[in-house]
């Protein structure tokens, strides 16, 4: 290639194009780096699907394809949007909208994940760590007030689903299809997938006939409270077996929910 000296207007044109290109490059990189803001400030903390790696590794490995979304029978998995920054397109769970009830039995989302962002080392529901439940509003908790619960859970806009073995072994149904009549509210306990599994195992009928499915530790129980006013009150106690699936937060009839799931990533940082 011969190096000819460019004429003045051509050289000026080339100089302008170079500067424009520099500007374009900087603008594209700059825009992409904005995505770090929500991640670093945790302005939009998210519960991740079952088997998710630690938050940073999770975001590194998630290829944002949504295959986990597609296989979930209760459609618990959502994809991040603009406010998630680097997490845009990555999967998360909003427990209040729809918790994970393990009605797929086999952790279908983990099996569907092509990159291992949902770790394939996870085989059973009790092995996962989405987060840990916590009584956020003890004053609202019906059990702690000694109150029962009658009727349908939450308001008509609530679309959450749950698989009730006694109603339909295979298909989750809308929670609002059910009418409850509880002397003292224990919705969180009766909807806890870990507790349900332990009960099945205790009855000699482990899920899928596989004793490996039996959780080794309890997740939640109601303990009698000592009260001076003579009212029988029960306190939900979160135990070591809690995996943070969010079923309890989803069905909690109070507004806002008395019980919430805290994120594993935030718990880890104390």
């Amino acid at each position: 290639m011969s190096k000819k000296k460019l004429s003045k207007p051509l050289a000026e044109k080339a100089r302008r194009r170079f500067l424009r290109s520099l500007g374009l490059g900087a603008a594209v990189i700059g825009s992409s780096l904005v995505g770090f803001y929500p991640v670093l400030t945790q302005s939009a903390p998210r519960l991740r699907p079952p088997g998710a790696l630690k938050e940073q590794e999770y975001l590194a490995s998630c290829i944002k394809c949504g295959q986990c979304v597609q296989v979930c029978p209760v459609e618990a998995i959502l994809l991040g949007d603009l406010e998630d920054g680097m997490g845009a397109g990555a999967a998360h769970i909003d427990a209040r909208v729809q918790g994970c009830d393990f009605s797929c039995d086999g952790l279908q989302c983990v099996l569907a994940c092509p990159t291992g962002a949902l770790s394939h080392d996870t085989d059973y529901p009790h092995q996962i760590h989405i987060g840990v439940a916590r009584i956020d509003k003890p004053k609202l908790c019906l059990a702690m007030q000694g109150k029962g619960f009658k009727g349908k859970v939450r308001d008509p806009s609530f679309t959450g689903k749950f698989r009730y073995n006694e109603i339909d072994r295979w298909n989750p149904i809308p929670v609002r299809d059910r009418d409850f009549d509880l002397e003292i509210c224990d919705l969180c306990v009766i909807h806890c997938p870990i507790e349900i599994r332990i009960a099945q195992c205790d009855a000699g009928k482990p899920p899928s006939g596989d004793t490996n499915q039996c959780p080794p530790q309890h997740a939640i129980e109601l303990r009698p409270m000592v009260s001076s006013d003579g009212i029988k009150r029960l306190e939900p106690i979160i135990l070591d077996g809690c995996v943070g699936c969010g079923a309890c937060e989803m069905v909690c009839p109070t507004e806002p929910a008395a019980i919430v799931v805290d994120m594993e990533s935030i718990l880890a940082e104390g």
């Binding site: 290639m1 194009r17 170079f18 424009r20 290109s21 374009l24 490059g25 594209v28 990189i29 825009s31 992409s32 780096l33 995505g35 770090f36 991640v39 940073q56 590794e57 975001l59 590194a60 490995s61 998630c62 290829i63 944002k64 394809c65 949504g66 295959q67 979304v69 597609q70 296989v71 994809l79 949007d81 603009l82 406010e83 920054g85 680097m86 845009a88 397109g89 569907a112 092509p114 990159t115 291992g116 394939h120």
Partner: protein, 321 residues
């Protein structure tokens, strides 16, 4: 300058080189010499173009692009599990596929590669190797078609004098490619994936729209008002990834110099006109010249050409048949 090196350097952003007399074959020299003596009949060529007006490949390509994306959408919407996932990674009848650039970003950020991802990446590599590399861009990428429609509007605006087109240095894409690769490796986040209009539009189609479409709208607005097809031409690393696959692909567009009028209609419609530098009078180095790796195999030039001087070609297939 051999074809391989020229094609690669053009892909990375260098301007096409002017071939020397030694580069040209004796056969093509005869044709060039003959053409020197011919008079260019402007009116006859214009008439030929008016009579030709073909949209064959455009139609086929748009139908393919829409069908592929529709297959993703319907698979999920109707739960028929044919093509699960999105363009970044998917399963076709249960068989893994992974977009090469997304897989690269994830591998650089995560520094592990699960067997599923290896299978998916290899499958997609073989597929686009056979089909021409950047064929992905023009035949599958859902952003491409939005960009194409915007381009049509942009050219109208330019014609009316409402906006001016600004070009960039094509090397910008190569620089961005390396920066995004380094960012993925050193930050541990798939930085490009967060802003990739390909992934964003694909997911929006399948899982429903989100606010992040504002970003895609913003890019389209710049393409409309400031620079024709700037994202595909100067920014998108996916195009470079598939371009590298196309570099060794047997499927390409091939140029036959003999009947060409050198009127340049093909270069006007082309997304990457530098690859068609060879159609300029006297530049072809042989009677048949394969078009370089940056070509998206979209077929617009084939549609535009009234003399059949540009054709799809699968290397070696003619000999086999």
């Amino acid at each position: 300058m051999n074809y391989f090196k020229e094609s690669l350097l053009q892909l990375l952003g260098r301007d096409p080189t002017r071939p020397t007399e030694e580069d040209k074959s004796p056969e093509v020299k005869i044709i060039h010499f003959r053409k020197k003596g011919e008079k260019y009949d402007r009116e006859a060529v214009q008439k030929e173009h008016a009579d030709h007006d073909s949209k064959k490949w455009l139609r086929r390509r748009w139908i393919t692009l829409i069908l592929v994306n529709l297959l993703f959408v319907l698979s999920y919407a109707l739960d028929i599990q044919l093509l699960e996932g999105a363009l970044t990674a998917s399963r076709f009848f249960g068989f893994h596929m992974a977009d090469l650039n997304s897989a690269l970003q994830v591998t650089l950020a995560y520094k592990h590669m699960l067997i599923n991802l290896v299978i998916g990446t290899a499958t997609i590599f073989i597929l686009w190797f056979l089909l021409g590399g950047r064929t992905f861009c023009s035949w599958v990428c859902p952003y491409h078609i939005l960009s194409e429609w915007t381009e049509w509007l942009h050219l109208k605006f330019v014609e009316k004098g409402w906006v001016k087109d600004h070009d960039f240095h094509r090397g910008t894409r190569t620089v961005l490619y390396f920066i995004f690769a380094l960012l993925a490796f050193f930050t541990g986040y798939t930085v490009y994936e967060a802003i990739s209009p390909t992934g964003i539009v694909s997911r929006a189609l399948i899982y429903g729209p989100g606010l992040i479409l504002l970003w895609v709208g913003f890019i389209l607005l710049i393409e409309l008002l400031y620079s024709r097809r700037f994202w595909c031409r100067y920014a998108c690393p996916i195009g470079l990834t598939y371009g590298l696959v196309g570099q060794i692909s047997p499927l390409r567009v091939i140029y036959t110099v003999d009947n060409c009028h050198h009127e340049g209609e093909c270069r006007k419609v082309c997304l990457v006109p530098h690859v068609l530098d060879t159609v300029i009078k006297g530049k072809a180095t042989d009677t048949e010249v394969p078009i370089g790796a940056d070509c998206t195999r979209c077929g617009l030039c084939i549609d535009a050409c009234p003399t059949n001087s540009l054709k799809y070609n699968f290397k070696g297939l003619n000999k086999l048949l």
